[in-house]
Amino acid sequence: MHDFYGVALGNRLMLGTALYPSPAILAEAVRVAGVEVVTVSLRRESAERRDGQAFWALIRELGLRVLPNTAGCHTVKEAVTTAQMAREVFDTPWVKLEVIGEHDSLQPDLFGLVEAARILVAEGFEVFPYTTEDLVAAERLVEAGCRVLMPWGAPIGSGLGLNNRYGLRSLRAHFPEVTLVVDAGLGLPSHAAAAMELGYDGVLLNTAVAKAGDPVTMAKAFSQAVEAGRLARAADPMEPRDMAAPSTPVLGKAFLG
């Protein structure tokens, strides 16, 4: 079974920590969903307000593994420096590497992504690249030393689900040995279940939970859907067929004409 740089996760749902109505709701959502990994970020700290310190206290309290991101970085240099700072602050070699190439879609810049991944792997990071379903970029990321790939389902925060199922299926088929996580764009638990049914090893999302009317309940829903999809893949689903087949045996039916 695929692990995450040597770490085996029981719960394959990873949650972002942003956009929740309150820290309390975030904490409750994470707890109820039983997630083991949350994504975090970095921002400028104010010596007076010390917001970052309060958030850090909350995260430590949750006692979860953190996956720091390089959200908002548009250059290799920014992403690398952000990753370096994140490693020191969060004391983890894990980094969700984002090199954003385009503002409206927040599409990854595959060129910068590969370059940054090479640098960070050389510095001992365990890189979780936020990428697309592009097979060649995937090949280069794996060559660079990435053992986890995180293709998008749809643009971040869009909630559209899996825009290119063919591409995601193809990526899974081409990299049987690599841990694959659908990251971003999911809106509903059925999207998450479908990703797992395609053979993905996990799902990472934030907005669909944080922006739901009831984030805590939605977190639980996604957690169950991810597990459902994982089990389904393991249980070897039936092949779909174009014609009907009676489930109730016809043999021995009473004649009541």
């Binding site: 956009l19 975090v40 970095l42 700290e45 970052g52 995260i59 700072m85």
Partner: protein, 65 residues
């Protein structure tokens, strides 16, 4: 000496990065630092002298997706 801290100009009395952080009220905080776009590890703050106009970033944990 004036430096740029997190994008704002600030007057500081000392030059060593660790001292500057203390002077600016960051003692006891979980933060990482960069000077002029380069990461400066905690362990190296003591040996890092700032100069006039240096851009210092002091960042901390934050919500992220």
């Amino acid at each position: 000496m004036r430096i740029v801290l997190n994008g704002k100009s600030r007057e500081v009395a000392v030059a060593r990065l660790d001292r500057v952080l203390e002077e600016l009220g960051f003692h006891g905080t979980k933060v990482a630092t960069a000077v002029n776009g380069q990461f400066v590890a905690r362990s190296r703050r003591g040996e890092t002298a700032l100069g006039e106009g240096d851009r210092v970033e002091v960042i901390a944990p934050m919500q992220g997706g």
